[in-house]
Amino acid sequence: DAGVTQSPTHLIKTRGQQVTLRCSPKSGHDTVSWYQQALGQGPQFIFQYYEEEERQRGNFPDRFSGHQFPNYSSELNVNALLLGDSALYLCASSLTYEVNEKLFFGSGTQLSVL
């Protein structure tokens, strides 16, 4: 079992560009959540996907969007990148009935915006 896998591991972008991050959930999991972790801070909830729909959303602007595919994998898209978007982006998977209780996190994608 490969656990939660994220790609790429590191990414460097320029202000104003767009970025797509990818996540494959742990085998058997159907729910994917995305978190943003700024340096020295705890993760912050961005949104959650189940059955290919965004089910819940944290306090993030519409520049942040996502998608979930039929195989439960997910993408996080960020448009019009700002310097403040530089962070570690974490994907977490779970079973929907344990949605926040047994979250398995990937190692994240480190995004640097220059």
Partner: protein, 114 residues
Amino acid sequence: QQQVKQSPQSLIVQKGGIPIINCAYENTAFDYFPWYQQFPGKGPALLIAIRPDVSEKKEGRFTISFNKSAKQFSLHIMDSQPGDSATYFCAASSSGGGADGLTFGKGTHLIIQP
């Protein structure tokens, strides 16, 4: 608005000592309180979690103490080892009304000295 306040920010303990990390929450709708451990370059991993119907939970060397009236909970690590050196995050979530994601504290950087 920080809904989960964690202290201390950093902690140094000698091997065999008992580090204690404290968290306080504001939202009385929270009913699930996990602790996560994060090593450099990795995503957070679930250590132990508690619900408000019990005042203490122990799993191996890790113990959560929970005080519902004070809205506080803490993590104790018994017989601490250098391998426990990591960043620890408390978190909270509510199960009613859907899944809003976990709300994390800012983290405690723990160093266990040999």
